[in-house]
Symmetry: C2
């Protein structure tokens, strides 16, 4: 009976996904904790019809990078296994809205199984944490930490042909004492829910008959550390929540509320245009949000937080009911461990080449917040570039020879392009010794000198959802066209080798950035440093964020939540 | 600055609520845990304009009874203070829908502050648990158990003139070993959320590569204990969740799922009409939900549950991934403690008279699941009834004398009415010795005998939301018209005293009951034993439950949730 029904399911699944072929799961359990070695041999068919085993791709993480990778995979000749402690993708830019119930947590999450199911590919998912990567044996070791009641944690390992690391990062405490114990972070959905619960909790506590005024003031003093987009947006959301909703339900407490924003730098939102920074600082001042610039937190206590003035070095102590910490990110312990294995010491994240491949590994890729691209320097390769260009090996380079490789140089070293644009020059004028003699011949020394300043143009990509998503799509595209590009490489010339690279290198396209400031006002900085502030950009924000939702369900829910907030305000039930 | 702004708020509040008068809060803290005695003296104006202190009404609980009491209070001469560990009211009949995400938790809750604000009265709320009632000194002792980080729990006490106990009940484990540790209850919103989280958790765990088939089967075997409306509805919801949503995302696990319903009685839904019970049992059979009747759970273990067959006495053991326990309710410890003080031993709940006043207390009322009405027996008062009726003290009662008090008897002792209806008799025929001689004279002995069977008609009210809500409205109405009714009593004749009772006694009106059975089918039992089963009553269910929501917000959200479920299914993200 159960067998026949199993057969029915199996056959149905098989028909739904013709690409699936029979799979044999060899699965052994080692007693006690139970480390199981898992190997799944599926197979696909090549163009000429003969069968070959499917390549196993293991993806670590279901954040922006991992999810956009899975979503963009089209090629059924891979057998994809996603491992993540979260069985859903979360639209993190809306997390600050979740902290105050402007948007519900469920409206910004989508089960990864739903997402992968739509791709129509053979994607497996395991809700587990990868705690060790073994590049020598092409294995990852995972631990499923489900609730203890169920009988502790299981461990298992997965083999891979390709590994995609998209584990993201953790909040960085800079080893400030007391942060781990007493501060709230804002990185995961659970963090946002915890903050929401806590805010209501503080208001309820402050309104108890037995609590003296001084204590009420302490309980309702909210301190936000870090003037980046997250910190600023949370401060704005909290202000709106208090003044639009809570003040009606807790009228007597309204005037005890104090919101303080501590920023170590000299300005908040310092990655934005100066106009936006100024506007934000002024708006917060008007709202009575106390922005303390140049103050570095030195200690977070249970009931007070101490910060040091940059200039004077004075240490000021502030009572608090709640501290929210969003000062930037650091590498996760598992990633640090892997970096050690690779000898990547003192780097803030996993170093990859321009094709997102981890340096020193052939089949391991890293994207998103856990990775950083090491853009190759021109000066490192100047000799090989010169000799490649100098076809006749004359030891001298004339403009014609040079112009043949210009395209490849620019593609391989984008900083050259940026430099030329910034200098309003073209390649020719870079080489020509003087305006009079445009055509010219140069030796390597001159060549070096001409390009000496180019590398100064390189900068790291920001750790944003936008970058991670583009990297995921880029890498999936590479995987989808792997065979093709191996036959017909489309990348730039190999200066240090022969032939061309298989793929074009990853290039980030910046589509601008938003900073919601509360009160239906948002600052937007769009490409070409086009800046817009106020209600208009709030509506731009609404439309962009709604359209970027991962599924129709979340689109509908997020819009419904915004409508609900307009009609009924935010809910303050403590659940 | 803060003072002036405080003044502004205060005056605004004062203008918004003219009924408010100045309030002095005397608040002292005793160190260590901090027990604070809190006394708040407000005052109101009588008809002839002279001021008198407002009566303090303390309400314990924000469930159906407490909330409907607060909602229905209109009289501004009370100073109401609500104390509850939950700062919201929850529409509990939809809890089973929350366990599977058919409806979101936030859609069925409304902050009590919102509800009381609408009444326009002077209502305070404290999020705390009452742990002791002191009827001698008219005091309740409360404890606010907020998160430990904030510095432990505070304690305070409140004085009252009237106390309304509406603390509800707790799930009854009947001291079955292992229930507290291993089973899930379904009484609070948090319970529903915990269950939802757990269900997904089990599916994720069962789909790990290292879990053998036997363990998958155990993890996905759900056991529900108790065939009452809650248990049955949860089983139905779970079945729908698995077969409509999870089976798509976890196709390989679909056939490992097993839902078992254990009922100690001989039928599920035994408070319903036989037709409904049969229909439900058949539907569950068709669905493959294993309904085990007459099996009493003797032990709940971490991974298995043992139950005893009623007939054979055999003990069967079942592996389980999750046990949901809904076998009825018991008294909360604080209530039991209070009952002990009053000498109410071995009672399942606080005993009140027909006016919901706790027996032995003048100014304490109890409603909802924590209370039970002790309907006065005719036989206890037969002598006084007789003498009241026997105006001339002849020791004999003629029909005329009798008919003068019939109305009062029936109002005071509703069982008389029920008895007569059941016997198709009227009062006269009850007394007349034979059909031939309708008018007659009886002595007390005969009178006793005639009414001897009457008390057998008494039965306790069910512990339902409907009863609790009606009791709350009834009591509020009494409070609203207290002065008036003291002057012009409207209640029945006092047989054991002189004059009349101030108020009519509480009478419960039954509007019928629903039992959703899943698959868009609901059983409805309406007054007059009118039974309807199927899709039609499902729509009746939708409309009734939507209309009964406490606020427009929750109305809108619940309907939106139903729509969302139709369009996109239920979400299975593990948050």
């Amino acid at each position: 009976m159960s067998w026949s029904s199993f057969y029915h399911t199996a056959s149905r699944v098989f028909h739904e996904y013709p690409s699936w072929s029979k799979s044999v799961v060899v699965c052994t359990i080692i007693s006690g904790g139970g480390l199981a070695a898992y190997s799944d041999t599926r197979s696909a068919y090549s163009d000429n019809g003969d069968q070959f085993p499917k390549k196993k791709v293991v993806v670590l993480g279901t954040g922006w990078a991992g999810t956009s990778f899975v979503k963009s995979m089209k090629n059924s000749s891979y057998d994809i296994h996603v491992v993540s402690p979260r069985n859903y993708f979360a639209f993190t830019p809306l997390l600050p809205s979740v902290t105050c119930g402007t948007v519900e947590a469920r409206s910004i999450v989508e089960p990864i199984r739903n997402i992968s199911r739509k791709s129509g590919l053979d994607v497996q998912f395991s809700e587990a944490e990868c705690y060790k990567i073994d590049p020598k044996n092409n294995k990852v070791y995972c631990r499923a930490s489900h609730d203890k009641k169920l009988g502790g944690t299981e461990e298992f390992s997965l083999d891979y042909d390709y590994l995609v690391i998209a584990m993201g990062a953790r909040s960085n405490t800079f080893n400030t004492p007391g942060v781990e114990e007493h501060a709230y972070f804002l990185k995961e959905v659970e963090d946002a829910q915890r903050i929401r619960h806590k805010v209501i909790n503080l208001f309820e506590r402050a309104s108890l008959p037995c609590v003296p005024v001084e204590e009420k003031k302490r309980l309702l003093s909210f301190v936000i550390v870090g003037g980046g987009p997250t910190g600023v947006e949370f401060a704005a959301e909290l202000y709106d929540f208090v003044h639009e909703d809570l003040s009606k339900l807790y009228p007597s407490l309204k005037d005890h509320v104090k919101i303080t924003l501590l920023e170590a730098g000299y300005h908040i939102l310092n990655m934005f245009d100066k106009r936006i920074t100024e506007f934000a600082e002024e708006k917060f001042k008007r709202d009575g949000i106390d922005v303390k610039l140049g103050s570095m937190v030195v200690k977070v206590g249970e009931k007070e937080i101490s910060s040091k003035e940059r200039g004077s070095g004075e240490v000021a102590t502030l009572p608090h009911g709640m501290v929210v910490w969003s000062t930037g990110i650091g590498a996760r312990p598992e990633v640090v461990d892997f970096m050690k294995q690779l000898g990547q010491i003192n780097r803030r994240a996993l170093v990859t080449d321009e094709w997102l491949r981890v340096e020193g590994c052939d089949n391991i890729y890293a994207l998103g917040d856990c990775a950083t691209i090491n853009q190759r320097k021109v000066m490192e390769d100047i000799a090989v570039i010169f000799s490649k260009a100098d076809k006749e090996n004359t030891g001298m380079l004339d403009l014609k020879e040079f112009q043949n490789v210009v395209g490849d140089i620019i593609e391989r070293y984008p900083q050259v392009d940026i430099y030329l644009k910034s200098q309003m020059k073209d390649m020719a004028s870079l080489l020509s010794k003087s305006q009079e003699s445009p055509t010219t011949v140069v030796d390597i020394e001159y060549f070096k000198q001409a390009l000496s300043k180019v590398d100064s143009q390189m900068k790291n990509l920001p750790a944003t959802a936008q970058v991670a998503a583009q990297q995921g799509t880029y890498l999936a595209d590479c995987f989808n066209r792997m065979e093709l590009c191996e036959r017909y490489p489309e990348g730039p010339l190999r200066f240090r080798g022969t032939g061309r690279h298989r793929f074009r290198a990853f290039r980030y396209k910046h589509f601008g950035q938003f900073a919601p400031l509360g009160g239906e006002q948002t600052a937007a900085q769009l490409p070409g440093d086009w800046v817009s502030i106020g209600h208009s950009s709030q509506w731009l924000w609404y439309s962009v964020y709604a359209s970027k939702q991962v599924s129709w369900r979340t689109k509908a829910l997020v819009i419904a939540d915004w409508g609900r907030r307009f009609l009924f305000g935010r809910d303050s039930s403590q659940i």
